[in-house]
Symmetry: C2
């Protein structure tokens, strides 16, 4: 695949561009690298260079058509289709995830949720019935799910992650404060407020 060589640091900025464009779309039809840069805190040159990795989306003298750039970015990020997600761990955080409408709005559907707590299994959150974690593998296979969100305690995260990989999961978004060690072809992202807080306090 050609796009393998585009640096991950650039890929990581694309979703931010997309988000800002969605906001701008509400009030205008055109923007430019200067405006985007100011809204995001990046340089205009960087935005132009990043986008130019994927094609020529702008027009000299005019800038970028917002709708067109949004469509393009969605295509690049593979977010022009819907993705099914498996949630592992339906504690307080997991429940908040199930009830949060933002994922679906951006094409991410929490298709199934599993837990090991008998009191949670069978409960319904936002039309998703929690299933037994012991059925995890079949759920993944049957629904051909590629992405899992992990919202289990830190001590359980590695173990769960390995089971997920074995069951065929391709990418994991982990909310657990733990570093996962997995085969390199598995994509792992962390949503980890503790790390962020510790980063913040450095500067205070």
């Amino acid at each position: 695949m050609i796009k393998e060589q585009i640096p991950d640091i650039i890929v990581g900025r694309l979703p931010r561009y997309l988000r800002t464009l969605l906001l701008l779309r509400e009030t205008k039809t055109t923007t430019n690298s200067k405006e985007l840069g100011e809204l995001l805190g990046f340089s205009a040159a960087q935005i132009r260079k990043d986008l130019s990795q994927y094609g020529e989306f702008g027009k000299q003298g005019t800038g970028y058509n917002i709708d067109y750039l949004i469509d393009s970015l969605n295509r690049i990020l593979n977010t022009d289709k819907n993705w099914d997600i498996l949630l592992v761990g339906v504690g307080q955080l997991g429940q908040a995830i199930l009830n949060y409408p933002g994922f679906l709005k951006h094409g991410f559907l929490v298709k199934a949720a599993v837990d090991n707590n008998p009191e949670i299994i069978g409960q319904k959150f936002n039309s998703c019935v929690v299933q037994d974690v012991r059925n995890m593998k079949e759920i993944i296979t049957e629904n051909q799910i590629q992405i899992a969100m992990v919202a289990v305690p830190a001590e359980k995260a590695q173990e769960i992650a390995e089971e997920l990989v074995e069951a065929g999961i391709k990418a994991i978004l982990s909310y657990a404060p733990a570093t996962l060690t997995l085969p390199s072809q598995i994509r792992v992202e962390y949503s980890d407020p503790l790390i962020s807080l510790q980063h913040i306090t450095y500067y205070l």
Copy 2:
């Protein structure tokens, strides 16, 4: 301050080093850059270079004393003391935050929480009584709070953030899927699973 010139990209890795060391401490007293690197997915050279920015923590031939390095990192990150935090927005996510014990375990105390919903105001979560958002400024001043977590809807995030800055907040951890535009001396971090998911799908 001298440390201003140490690149933020290095600072951002320090909390990860700290986390791994806390894990290692349970089974050993000494480690080295190779082991840390393997656990974290960084090169050994990078870990040595990062740490050397702040002093000489290791011993040739031996490696690093884990306890000593943990103490050192805590001092560097300012996490050797406790921090009070204000939570803005006590919806589902906010409630999960209030009930999550992990913050306190690492020295972050959610000292106060505010919301604008009359049904939520007055409710108690994990010994924290939700107060009216209209009292936000006094709460910040009286408790001399420097860090705020923002767990409000995306549309409200910018407005709330500006009020926080006006009230004297120095750093914000935002859970809202929105880019905040604030004075540069305010430190902002994001905990944003949607961005992470969109980053993930690029590779699927």
